[in-house]
Symmetry: D2
């Protein structure tokens, strides 16, 4: 069985496991106060060109979203996201569980447009009854999005400027950030993201770590952020587990280097699919490829390959997702192409 | 200044105040255990043809929605409502504050359609990842809706059957229920509502009471419902205040009698508007009339009449709402018509 | 049956009902923007000697506590209260429902002592692990307390100074404030309370209103307080109901005048009890009298008088509560004394 | 610097890291549906003598407590725990954050006594106003406790029987369970725990894992437990990380074998402390040793050894904690003894 279902089906990049081995019996303080966490943070600050950034390591994406959003929002506020945003659908109501509404904006291939955001904000404040409504308190975007698409630097600049005008923190979910940063044709760098957002996270789980997301506040984290992490059950006793992994990922550019493999293999796959006449649901520049399959074809292929069910296209067709990753090999690609 | 802004701008129907006076110095138990609350409940059970119904009195609509929804839902569930549903917009995120998501369905003049509901539910359960999503746990409808429209008995039957099939409690927000029950042409009775829903409330605040909504569980309330009311700060010490009001409203059919005045005056107003060439935004059969006004016309009229701002129609026009009530007089109507 | 079970067993003071009658058909804006609410607020500001105070009317005590505490606290904070504090026991976990811990301090006849508070705060900050604990974020006291006792001005000053030193808002629950203010021997005035606390409420429900508590922020309410009131389902559409009541209560000193009746009758009752050899559980200077009854005596008396069960004293005795109110008459007293 | 501050200062037991290496490039399903998670669960079921148990892996102790308690409790319920219980103090209000109260019972060396529990429950239900209070909905005990003490089988039986009588689920926090199970003199086995509780967890983080706690429901987990784990941000994408670790820990009895080292070294240390005249704060039979140090002595010792600050004993003395673990070596012990 070939495996293209997602980008988190292996363990960790071998360099990470090696570092865990090498440091295993060192006695270190808990809760992120170990020297590896410090080193990782320092390296991330450099990579973000953001010497004052406050950085915290959390275990996973839903956790990172729930902790960041619920600590940054005021009680009377909700978060604006694309209707397709991960927080709006696939996190089991984790944001609402913390007491906050998610406002769904229309999307274009998973991205929100600054025009739509502006209209939403204008209409909200123009409504004379808006004191009876939850206030917009934050804007959430994902990059890459749930459809693998990327914001351009111009789009990011526009959204960021709009957020600043309305005093709304901008939060970027970078669960797959590595794959976005090395996509061909993107003009958005890690430093740009640190510049244009108020908080974002650098995904580890989907980019070679066993677990872990690095939450970056380029300027300042909310007061007593650590206590609130603990309050949400998200403070790891052995903070070293995250620290060592991110220290490794941000040494010698490993994070970007291994991300490139996902892009290279995705591009090869995309080309092969197109050559064989498959219909792409949209043109994703990163490691997620969405294909419209005829249902029986989907069933047949599913006997030899694992891929992701995405959404119904129509009665006879389904959108499925093939994901490559830091670990995808040319041999796997070759086998997949034979089956297509 | 004429006042057509809403249906809660007066105090209470005089019979209610009289009864409060008459019973004022009686010493009664608190928390709803007084004989007036008992009598009111018994009269409501009769009116609903529902001898086993459990009934609780709460102070207002947002409170009733938040208490009912958050006590009926399981923790992993959200509530389905029309995108225009009151709980989705105008309650300051009160549902999400209790930890639950509101799923917005498309609407037709404020109503959800059973076809849309069915598609939503089918798609949800067809999605192989639905264990990663908040579950639909209840359906919320309002009757009359936020646009003054009404479900037909057939529509209610269809939605109810669908809910039963998916084991979803059906909750009807009756903040303006009186106005719906006496609308010309409706085929839905109070007994129908008790039959087709799992919980609903009979609005008092907007239909002649100082405050108060009667929450009716035709079969059974959640266990320890009173404790949860208290937990949400919604248990009135002097339960008599609600009991006496609903006892009065459900004596000699007062609730329906006073509701009729709102419909009669609304119909007169609608006719006058149409004769003068005004454009109705939609055809509401109850006491809320939505009119599309040219912006300067709106401004001019606003100097002599209070009405509700509803939504922008386009750059030059706005949708406004005129509401009649149990208290609207023919003299007020006459004065308004002169201004139109 | 005589009724001394609590101080909220009648309707409202007749002057309040009269004013509700007189203003009933006036058409007024909702949500507290009516002129009666404005007038009431202005009169309360004067009575508090606090011209800048922000004032909001809520319907009941648990609601006022839950709204104030959950809007003033930061997310990582809890509230300090006496173990016997109303919020700690008799509000069904309403504070915890909003996500915040109640820290129980030892009490002396229902009051917290500044020494205990100081020790608690010192120990908290001395604990090197305190970042792993919920922070103290507010101090809650009740005046009169749940045992009818009162803080002296010196005690209030000391607690207030300690709160200021630790930057903790001080919140005073005045559900029975009237009875405290007119107690013989108290040296605490309404202006003192406004001076020494950061937020407090003036109880209406137990002091002659149908419902209603006036929440006073002597300096400033939290931003968007009204939206958060709505979010907790506590914003009354007909704000006039509260406004008119408090306008009446703060006209010509009515609030204090009617409170005095409760104290006069309580003092007479206390004297009678002592003369007849009853044992007082503690010496309460307000309208709640706690008596230790032998269980069979309690049962016998219970056939003719309603009083409150308070707590088990020992196997053979029980503490019960007799409450007088603004409405207690000499005739009722006389009948009770005959039974004792 | 010697390190006796806690039992989670190393990485993982080498066998765990080896297994992570060996399986690293296998492509496995996420979210706990991998074969290692299955194998680990099966081994735990056997060890618990509980073939029907439902088992879930979470990342840490506070998370496990918050997820279990908030999913098992009804909305109107709180959890009973010793005043010293971890959930009551050192988890930043994580339980209250989910909306539930913690009821603090008196404790004896960290344990609750069934007599105190019984009195609490009797008093609660005897109180005629208990519908106005949060209901007891669960009993939480830790084993070993926060003071390293252990329940006897008789104590566990009594508490369990009492819980059954009141229909209260019994939850055992086993963050250090391994150390309790192999303590000399304990008569409580893993199978006993599965028999006498309704849910418990087997601690990994403090007993040789990088992270991870195995939550065991001997009979049945709450419906849609996985969705609620996700909702609290606690569902790991790479469930294999936990599965592989627990599979290793429960292969060939590794969990108990490595736990024994902590007990052996703790006993040696205890003996040495007593011989040198140190005063033990209490007699803990597991791996945490609490010593009363004179403050200057504490300071001097602190220059060469890391230990835990526990609580102030009096002005001149402090209680500190020395913890041994699966990794403590005789050489470390020897060095520590020289310093004492």
């Amino acid at each position: 069985m070939l495996y293209f279902e997602n980008d988190y089906c292996e363990g960790a990049h071998p360099a990470i496991l090696q570092k865990l081995m090498d440091t295993n019996m060192e006695k270190l303080p808990g809760y992120g106060f170990d020297p590896y966490s410090d080193a990782a943070k320092e390296k991330i600050r450099k990579a973000c060109n953001c010497p004052e950034a406050e950085i915290y390591f959390l275990a996973g994406g839903t956790q990172a979203n729930a902790v960041v959003i619920s600590t940054v929002l005021n009680r009377f506020e909700g978060v604006i996201a694309a209707l397709t945003g991960h927080i709006n659908f696939h996190e089991a109501g984790a944001i609402e569980y913390t007491g906050h509404k998610v406002f769904g904006l229309p999307h274009q291939d998973g991205k929100i447009r600054s025009e739509d955001l502006q209209m939403y904000l204008q209409d909200f404040y123009a409504d004379k009854n808006h004191e009876h409504m939850a206030f917009p308190g934050m804007v959430y975007i994902s990059h890459p999005t749930e459809y693998g698409t990327l914001y351009t630097k111009q789009e990011l600049t526009d959204i960021s400027a709009l957020c600043a005008r309305y005093k709304l923190p901008l939060f970027l979910d970078g669960a797959r950030l590595g794959y976005g940063l090395v996509s061909e044709g993107t003009d958005v760098t890690l430093a740009d993201i640190a510049h244009y957002t108020d908080v974002f996270y650098i995904g580890g789980t989907k980019v070679g770590a066993l677990c872990g997301e690095a939450v970056v506040f380029p300027e300042k984290a909310p007061a007593h952020f650590m206590t609130m992490i603990k309050q949400q059950g998200a403070l790891p006793a052995k903070g070293r587990l995250m620290g060592i992994q991110f220290d490794t990922l941000f040494t010698d550019n490993l994070y970007l280097t291994i991300s490139r493999n996902a892009i290279t293999t995705a591009n090869l796959l995309k080309k092969a699919l197109q050559e064989k006449g498959y219909r792409l649901f949209l043109d994703s520049p990163t490691n997620q490829i969405f294909v419209v399959l005829e249902n029986r074809q989907m069933e047949r292929l599913g006997r030899s390959v694992k891929f992701g069910f995405w959404e119904k296209y129509n009665e006879a067709h389904t959108v499925v997702r093939f994901a490559t990753s830091w670990a995808t090999t040319e041999e796997e690609l070759r086998q997949l192409m034979e089956l297509l």
